[in-house]
Symmetry: C3
């Protein structure tokens, strides 16, 4: 797990940055402005932390041109320091490179096709007719269902569960505990009892998707559930059957999306939001934390529901009033009419 040290000059080259200071400085790792030492690289992207920048003991800091003078050590000058930092973080990742081969404890069905360039960890189970491409890494104790296909350079961490017929694109990253392809929640009611509707569709995960720990993505009822290219899903998100998520949309943790809803491209949805079924959400929509989306959104913009945090005692009084809100509004209307009437009368009186 020891990573090679890289010179500041080499790092600059990888992201097209300019070095101000010592290009031969060897960088051991990345760190925040507050904790970085003389062999670490940090970044400055938020003006709020200018004092931290000025006080930082970092060997080097990624900054824009205008803040070069605020850096104590060396500077890596870049138009978008945060983006450059993101790119450079890959040089310091703790993940090991692919070590092709199948662990002897893995249980592989004879009809499965596993590329010689794939790495299959201990305790992995791969069912019949599955196809795993080169560069794929399958973490320990992960299960790959019947007929699944996993594209080049994708990575399933330990303990991922894929049901049958899940198709995964290239460079997809799926975290532990994710379950892809379980049955959608579909039942017909027969005199009070539920009759299961077998879920006959599949799941398609396009290229460059990341799926967080404990995420569940159900298979479609008849058609497929589909996660578009470049989508990023945080932990513990629930994606119901036949949902479609548009390209490059990012969704934060614990959000749930009910069946057949179609979310647009480039949306950002904050954590713990709930989106009910059969909706369409426009491209570029932003939903704030813990909102309930109960109707379609046709115009991009930011949307919210809920109330703000308050001291409990005060909140309790307001909650009581919320229950009276319609009545309060009607009383206000009545009062307006009375006063209006009064004023008019008064004016008439004046006019007399």
């Amino acid at each position: 797990m020891t990573k090679q040290l890289l010179s500041l000059g080499a790092l600059a080259e990888r992201v097209g940055a300019r070095v101000v200071g010592d290009p031969d400085l060897m960088i051991r790792s990345l760190a925040t402005l507050q904790t970085a030492g003389s062999d670490q690289l940090s970044f400055f992207a938020n003006p709020r932390y200018l004092n931290q920048l000025r006080a930082s003991r970092a060997g080097a800091v990624l900054v824009t041109e205008e803040h070069v003078a605020d850096v104590q050590g060396s500077a890596l000058v870049h138009g978008n320091p945060y983006l450059a930092f993101a790119r450079l973080s890959h040089q310091f990742d703790w993940r090991l490179s692919v070590q092709p081969g199948i662990h002897p404890s893995a249980q592989i069905d004879p009809s499965a096709q596993i590329d010689a360039g794939a790495q299959v960890g201990p305790g992995v189970v791969v069912a019949a007719e599955a196809q795993i491409a080169a560069g794929v890494v399958i973490g320990a104790n992960t299960v790959v269902g019947h007929g699944c296909r996993i594209g080049r350079d994708s990575r399933l961490e330990a303990g991922v569960m894929l049901y049958a017929q899940v198709r995964i694109g290239e460079r997809v990253l799926i975290h532990s505990g994710a379950v892809i392809g379980a049955d959608g929640f579909g039942f017909a009611n027969d005199q009070g009892q539920w009759v299961k509707i077998c879920q006959l569709g599949g799941v398609v995960i396009e290229d460059d998707v990341e799926i967080g720990a404990g995420v569940t993505i159900d298979r479609g009822a008849l058609d497929d559930t589909r996660i578009g290219r470049g989508v990023k899903l945080d932990n513990q998100i629930q994606v119901a059957h036949n949902v479609q998520i548009g390209e490059h949309t990012a969704i934060a943790g614990c959000t749930a999306i009910a069946g057949s809803t179609k979310i647009g491209r480039h949306c950002t949805i904050a954590g713990m939001s709930g989106i009910t079924g059969h909706l369409e959400i426009a491209d570029g929509t932003h939903i704030t934390a813990m909102s309930l989306v109960s109707h379609s959104i046709t115009r991009p913009g930011a949307y919210s529901s809920g109330t703000g945090l308050e001291p409990h005692r005060q909140w309790k009084r307001n909650v009581v009033r919320f229950r009276q809100l319609d009545e309060l509004a009607k009383r206000l209307r009545t009062l307006e009419q009375k006063v209006e009437h009064f004023t008019t009368e008064g004016q008439q009186d004046d006019g007399c």
Copy 2:
């Protein structure tokens, strides 16, 4: 995984439907009205989609008597097309039939009793004194704890975790990532530190229950946690210790139920709802999405909490007002009294 084709006549017979058209038409699979082709069967259950029915290229469509004339191909006439569709979906399921036997990589305690008609997958672990009945399927890498009992024809998908002493009925389906029988959340406070209360009860799952991916059902503190017959739980639901869920209740994804709450029979609870502890919810109650149920419900009906979605800027203004709601209500009352007084005075003046 190839399924046998079935004739329209054979399908009709299984659900007591009447064929209008060609009973010898061979049906390959089920599909929606929009995607179905000439060897597929679709269904029409929602009048909103009448145009889709009229335009469908489906080989056959399940319809009620009144819509036979709207079908282009053959029709399967049934009093409840959606229910008939649910029943027929089982003819086309992707799950393989039970293949009895224990995979050589499974680790079975010698004292466990596994019926010869059960199927135990690769990497499965079965602890001491567990009992597994005929027709049961245990998916890859699933763990069955000490003394668990699993009834006939139940199915645990891959990566299910059962703690000790979980009792599961017949024809139960448990999806991947579900954890049944973990400790309930019980602690006594000792001068600021938490002392664990060992959770000595178990979990009972009655017949015909379905449990979604990533669901957690905790064991009881002293008595059992109990999921009634025919209950359907969607993904990522949390069921705390000593909860009881009545027969044929269906709960959508990400709902959480706190300790010792007793939910009635035939309830429907929408997704992301929260139900606090020690409540009783009447039979036949419906809770809408993302509601907080903080008191018992004694009359069946639909219940809700929360606010509706709004553009963020408008919402922010309303949220500020919510914090003033009690004060606004009091100001309204004051104003009413003033106006009342005024009006009365005015009337008295008139009377003078």
Copy 3:
């Protein structure tokens, strides 16, 4: 799994209680007041259940001095019956004592160090350079990542997933399905596409922590995510990267905490709450169920958000009014001014 019977006298000694009645009574297990039989011990801690105490057939009951006379059988007298009950529950736990040894089906990297006093279950995978101390129990099919360290007497139940470099203290209990150390949700946006920020920090779990089933705790971006000593996390909680949770804080199920938030010591946070990122929550804060915490809390106390449960029809009307709330408040202000004006005029008239 059969536990030894213990005499009432022996139990009394363990918690410093006084026996009133038969100290030789053999106690088989613990039970509630309502279900306990003649060989069971119960407890009375809530005055609401006084009738249950009086009617109980328990062989013995833990009570305070003042309720000794209400006990039908023997009494164990203690200043804090609930706490004594918590301590005694450990005498009756269903968990087996540690059985040191490594199951032959476990896959242990040669560079991992596992103490001879640790128990490693079937199907467990331990990666390179991991260190596992004496008294640790690793449940079936659990995965321990590269370089993880697990302190004495900690217990990972079946199917826990630890990523690389997770450090776990002593006497920690982690339930099935928990995922510790997955990547934090960090991306930089590059013209609409997301560039992953590799998550280079780790996770530190201090001593005496309990982590519920299906909990996800992400590794830090650069520094560590940290769970303080004695913290108790219920099921399905999401802890984002760089969160810090102070000592002895308890959090109920399905709560989510966004990145870099710092929660104080001795807080209690009810279920399904959401806490947004980069906040600080004061020591001793209480958050009620399903609240959204969107700003820092500097004073301890109870805080809430949301609205109360109502019949759906009534709620719908109030939700419409919530959308008009700012407008209603302005109309109220206008009316107040009008009436004020009117009254003043009236008074002036009177004065004339």
